[in-house]
Symmetry: C2
């Protein structure tokens, strides 16, 4: 279906299911493994005998050589991208006689959630896992619904040197990794997309454990001019539509001809496509900045120029580069902010697995810095603060 106006909202409200998810979390917190066995039978319709995948090597050996090679290539691509953006320690800065800097240190224990749903998402394990490897994370744990664990997930888990793979899905997987059970290791941070129950659970546990963010249905905004190939755009929109009916799909274009071709072709599809005419590519960029889409595709001439005007987006493809390449092998991530969160944070990267430690050393600071500190500390009523500073530099 084609609509010619953008919707006011992209609703992704999980407030109604919060009480249910809270119950699941509390149940896992108090009953541990026992609760999970019961919840897996209830929600995933599986009677498990173990919450851990015990035959990883055997399962991994079933992967075809073609698939193995593909995974290895994609692994390297994501690795190189993250290695390029990995921040170095900054040591030896100084101002007014105070030496300072920052150290970047990896998080120790990370839990990756690989979602279920209609399809399988081993690529998500690569997207979440490889940046963790680049960061130097020592302990990676993986959880995924039991019916979704396949040989490729096993193969990638081996490549990532994953400590344990849990056959647990939904809110119970998030609760287990957040608080630990007899079988499941408590982690420092949980990363990964999932359905609304998974996202609600991530939100709820975020007072006790780190999360990457709350991810909703996927989004694609394509900006195209006369130079764009209509067939490519149709395929790009249909590709993104493969993620389900809630996907948010937008084409902003200056070309009437493009609108005509795309509209004619996609009008019969089940998904809703928002197709808008704009007067200029600059206008389209303004709209995109307001929408802050997960994926932005700049299928325009001089895409590099317009790239610099983007303020809010998860990931961007330039020119004829297919947006789906980000989903697999370009290097950037496909776990990205949705529902306007791109105004606030970026997609999953090596930064999600690092944290910054600041330090300062003041052997011979300028006198004015010391005086300023003492004056403000005293004004605020922190006299010992002032004294502890003053006693050093008298």
């Amino acid at each position: 279906m084609i609509k010619r106006e953008l919707p006011k909202d992209r609703p992704n409200d999980f407030s109604k299911i919060i009480p249910d998810v809270e119950k699941i979390i509390n149940y896992v917190k108090t009953k541990g493994d026992e609760a999970i066995f019961e919840l897996e039978e209830k929600f995933d319709k599986v009677k498990l005998t173990s919450l851990k995948l015990n035959n990883i090597e055997e399962l991994a050996s079933q992967v075809s050589e073609d698939l193995k090679k593909s995974i290895d290539i994609i692994y390297s691509q994501i690795y190189e991208f993250n290695n390029t953006i990995k921040p170095p320690n900054m040591i030896g800065g100084s101002f007014n006689g105070v030496e300072y800097g920052v150290l970047w240190r990896s998080i120790e224990k990370v839990g990756i959630y690989v979602p279920g749903g209609d399809k399988a998402y081993p690529s998500t394990l690569l997207m979440a896992g490889v940046p963790a490897i680049v960061a130097g994370v020592k302990e990676i744990y993986v959880s995924s619904p039991p019916n979704k664990i396949n040989p490729v997930i096993a193969y990638i888990s081996l490549k990532l040197n994953v400590k344990e793979v849990y056959t647990i899905g939904g809110a119970q997987a998030i609760a287990a990794m957040a608080y630990g059970t007899q079988t499941v290791k408590k982690v420092d941070k949980i990363v990964g997309p999932g359905n609304i129950y998974v996202q609600a659970a991530k939100y709820l546990v975020s007072s006790d454990v780190g999360i990457d963010g709350i991810e909703g249905p996927t989004e694609l905004v394509i900006i195209a001019d006369e130079s764009a190939n209509p067939n490519n755009i149709i395929l790009d929109l249909r590709a993104q539509a493969e993620h389900g009916r809630l996907t948010f799909l937008v084409l902003l274009t200056t070309s009437d001809k493009l609108i005509e071709i795309v509209t004619r072709e996609l009008d019969k599809d089940e998904n809703t496509y928002f197709v808008l005419k704009v007067n200029s590519i600059d206008e389209a960029i303004d709209i995109a900045n307001e929408v802050a889409p997960e994926h932005l595709s700049l299928q325009v001439e001089n895409a590099n120029e317009y790239l610099m005007k983007v303020k809010n987006a998860g990931a961007i493809t330039l020119g004829s580069t297919p947006p789906a390449l980000i989903d697999y092998s370009a290097g950037p991530n496909h776990i990205l902010p949705t529902n306007s969160w791109a105004k606030i944070r970026g997609g999953v990267s090596v930064y999600d697995y690092l944290k910054m430690i600041m330090y300062a050393s003041a052997k011979t600071p300028d006198k004015k810095v010391i005086e300023a500190s003492k004056i403000l500390a005293k004004y605020e009523g922190f006299n010992y603060h002032a004294d502890s500073i003053g006693v050093r530099y008298e």
Copy 2:
């Protein structure tokens, strides 16, 4: 009081007050300004006529020249530190024929909460605000309990080019900035410490708006060897104790003499100090890494060497540098992770006001990258993804 063993927990549990805070948030969401006037009268005992500070210039002009100069010096120090660590755009990376990179863009609208309590915290406004300026944030809003707004906060607000200062405290301030009211602007991200109500409110609104983190009572771990000055250490611990009875205060030392002097002096104090003998500085570093303290002070010889062994801490001072210098003018921040969050994230910096946008451009990618993407996409059942990639490079 002196204790010779570390506690098992640093409790900072706000689960009991969640229902109350939820009520406050929902009330502000539905009734807007009206709710805030009522809540301010109830909690801060002030009958407000406006929710905005309207006489900023006049108030700011009351600040003494000495204080103004001190604030200007501290402002510069925080500015330079954050400017040094500000990440540049990374443009022009490439691997296997795919060009990629990241752009760093500032968040647009930021709300800073300046807490109330026994004392005044204008320094917190500098700590939260200056990194935002370095990031290029266009719209900064400030909120603080009405009885805590003073000339210095007004002066700093002018320096930060703050759009509006709201005379609102507590959970109602957080709710107002998260959802907007007739008077209060809805922001993209809320930054700043506060009491347990403020922190619970930040947690609750974090599904709808960015937050810096959840900050609890302040913490200091001092590691000291024979070379440390006992008087300095006593002052450092008492300085940190000025933040209140919940402050977590630890001394780890190899020196019996130091333990004797410090214990004798501090045993009469109201605060609890944890004083532990260690066999080596390495052992102390291990303990500190487990505790992941907000502030870590390395009052040892060769502090630079031990610095590199720290894995988890908010901010570190080296050698005789007073920890309190971080609270004012060293450059690093004093809004830092507490309660073990230093295992997961760092303190407030320019990074809190930036987000990363990833991009990729693949005009002539290596064939193997394209093949790998198509193979994995088909395996996952995403045929249009595969087609949208394939059609470009056939």
